[in-house]
């Protein structure tokens, strides 16, 4: 090659390099602004750490936030329902007492709920939010006949409403009873959260927010900072560091499901 060719070559290489460096940040920002053309990665595993010591009994902020974000709030439209004067065709003792107080029907979906616990032996009381645990080995995924219940590569367990036939087998299989069936026709759904009658649904870890780089609504709403969200697979993330240092457990750890949601203080 002549000297001129070599010069041309190096000039082209340099200019390409400069161009790439100039354009690259713009492309990254472009991605952030215009959705995520890459698939959910296996390097990420989303999870939450819930500090039950910070969770106040009677506080429902996470539930309210979830209902608002996803258009729930018990009832057809996602608008808060007015208190019922006299409840529920199936009223009786037991399951419906707490329902009546929250003005929810037994058929209303609940993606997250506050559970008040009392240790049967010691009498210690605590409260915590229970939502889909996003297991690594989800029983709901195993039993779904059509594969509608599935686990995304980043660990979020979802229901693909396009495939759900509404057989409710996953609801039978879930050890945490976190799935709900949509018993009534829905109207005016949140465009970010499609949901419809006849399918099963559960906490999506606010996948529409997570994919935008935000936290789930419950984590953001908790004023006591009881819910920590993050990437379990990133050793430097706050959640991974905390799990390494403080004692935390999975609910029903004996089932070997390796849940993505962990609880502190249980």
């Amino acid at each position: 090659m002549t000297d001129i060719d070599v010069q041309r070559r190096s000039f082209l290489k340099t200019s390409l390099g400069v161009a790439a460096v100039t354009i690259a940040p713009g492309m990254l920002l472009f991605d952030a602004a215009h959705g995520q053309p890459q698939a959910a990665g296996g390097k990420v595993r989303w999870g939450m750490l819930i500090d039950t010591a910070q969770c106040k009994p009677g506080c429902n902020d996470c539930v309210t936030a979830c209902n608002r974000e996803n258009g729930l709030s018990g009832g057809a439209n996602g608008q808060a329902r007015s208190p019922l004067p006299n409840p529920l065709p199936q009223a009786g003792e037991g399951a419906n007492d707490s329902l009546r107080e929250s003005h929810l029907k037994p058929t209303d979906p609940q993606w997250i709920r506050k559970i008040e616990l009392k240790d049967a032996g010691s009498g210690r009381e605590l409260s915590l939010p229970m939502m889909c645990q996003h297991c690594e080995h989800p029983p709901c995924v195993d039993v779904c006949p059509t594969g509608a219940s599935f686990k995304r590569a980043d660990g979020i367990v979802l229901v693909d409403k396009h495939r759900c036939i509404g057989c409710r087998y996953c609801m039978m299989a879930c050890p945490y009873k976190v799935r709900s069936f949509v018993h009534e026709p829905l109207h005016d759904q949140n465009p970010d959260v499609p949901r419809g009658k006849g399918t099963v649904e559960s906490c999506t870890l606010c996948v529409h927010r997570v994919d935008r780089g935000q936290r789930p609504a419950c984590a953001e709403a908790c004023q006591n900072k009881a819910i920590l969200f993050g990437n379990l697979n990133d050793p430097d993330s706050e959640i991974a560091r905390k799990i390494r240092t403080v004692a935390s457990t999975q609910v029903r750890a004996d089932l070997g499901l390796n849940t993505g949601i962990r609880y502190q203080g249980l």
Partner: protein
């Protein structure tokens, strides 16, 4: 044949039966339409009791469908001649019951319009997905079996097909038991005992249904069942009822031993209100002990052949009643007891944690279930009319010659 009023009007009675069957089917379809239009909120099912009365009916029909084929298998596989003559009726009944049970299941789906999705997307780890293949396979095999028995040229294939049918339905009923056995977190299920229990139940319920239908057919046609065959069949039913009792007893006795299961067992067997009533009164007393009495001590105050037949039919009907009671306790009672999510803690929440779930069966559910039974009834009634499935017992020549 003497022209009595029944024989003269027999076609009318037949069409009357078909009309009645179609009416119930229509009611069932109407109920399904209401459920699809308004959602499951019009039923008694909710987020705690997700499978209700329709599933009780459907699982009965599906298990009985598998078991009724047993009658044919005893003929083809185990070589008992008396049963060979009953094989066509048994295959027809199996197809009918399976159709009814599957119709109820499919119409109860949240999205019945998506059955095509279920038929084209298979999750290999799901028992339901296996069942789609197993059940449609049984339809095809039962039809093939029927053909092999009725078409003279195919008669030599009836034994091999009979073997395949036998094996297939053992797998199928195991699958039905596995639906529940795989539910690892529920105290009522998650037991390896369930598949064998379902198989024994299928023998009992299938034979009971077969006997009822056979007796009705004989009565309609003015025939009497050979007492020797009657005795064999009813004794076999008795053995199967005992077998089911054994399985249920083993299941509960084992459960009672585990401290963590004690609450659940107490709920089902004594504290749970309707569930202990149905279990002890419906299944054990009326569905097992009374039929056993009728089967093994039929001479209690009876002498004529028709009375003995009557007591066998009564026993069969009671077994069927008991099966509904058992399934109600198993399916619905199993869901009513709260999940043990935090062992060692008492829990309360807005979603029924720590509390017994309430369930009241609703009219749409009952209509849907009865609609399924009516589908089975229609297929049987029309099938028996159209096909030569009445058991023609070949009289024992040696007995006749002996005089």
């Amino acid at each position: 044949m003497p022209t009595n009023p029944f024989n003269k009007n027999e076609p009318r009675y037949f069409y009357g039966l078909v009309a009645a069957g179609m009416l119930v089917v229509l009611l069932g379809l109407f109920a399904a339409h209401m459920m699809e239009e308004h959602g499951h909120v019009i039923t008694g099912m909710n987020n705690q009791i997700v499978w209700g009365l329709p599933h009780v009916f459907a699982i009965f029909m599906i298990v009985a469908a598998s078991g009724v084929l047993n009658v044919a298998s005893i003929g083809s596989v185990f070589g008992k001649t008396a049963y060979k003559a009953r094989a066509p009726l048994s295959s027809l009944l199996s197809i009918a019951l399976l159709a009814g049970g599957l119709a109820v299941l499919m119409l109860d789906l949240g999205r019945p319009d998506r059955v095509i999705v279920a038929a084209t997307n298979y999750n290999t780890t799901s028992v339901f997905a296996w069942n789609v293949l197993l059940y449609s396979g049984l339809f095809a095999l039962a039809a093939l079996y029927l053909w092999a028995m009725m078409e003279q040229r195919m008669n030599r294939w009836s034994k091999p097909v009979g073997f395949i049918v036998f094996g297939w339905r053992i797998i199928l009923t195991t699958g039905t038991g596995l639906i529940f056995a795989f539910l690892v977190a529920r105290q009522a299920y998650a037991s390896a005992l369930l598949p064998p229990m379902f198989i024994v139940m299928s023998f009992a319920w299938g034979l009971a249904v077969f006997h009822v239908v056979q007796s009705a057919l004989y009565a309609w046609n003015g025939m009497t069942l050979d007492p020797a065959i009657l005795k064999r069949m009813k004794n076999l039913l008795g053995i199967f009822v005992l077998g089911t009792l054994y399985m249920v007893a083993a299941y509960h006795l084992t459960n009672l031993y585990f401290a963590k299961q004690a609450g659940f067992e107490r709920f089902i067997l004594s504290d749970g209100g309707i569930y202990p009533w149905m279990f002890w009164g419906g299944y054990v007393l009326l569905g097992s002990l009374l039929p056993l009495l009728l089967i093994f001590l039929p001479n209690l105050g009876k002498s004529s052949a028709s009375e003995k037949t009557g007591s066998a039919v009564a026993a069969s009907l009671l077994v069927i009643l008991g099966s509904f009671a058992l399934l109600y306790v198993f399916i619905i009672g199993g869901q009513a007891y709260p999940l043990s999510i935090f062992p060692g803690y008492e829990t309360t929440s807005s979603f029924g944690d720590g509390q017994i779930a309430n369930y009241t069966p609703s009219l749409p559910e009952l209509l849907l279930g009865c609609g399924g039974l009516a589908i089975a009834f229609l297929i049987t009634t029309i099938g028996v009319r159209v096909l030569n499935s009445l058991p023609h017992d070949i009289p024992d020549r040696r007995k006749q010659e002996a005089g």
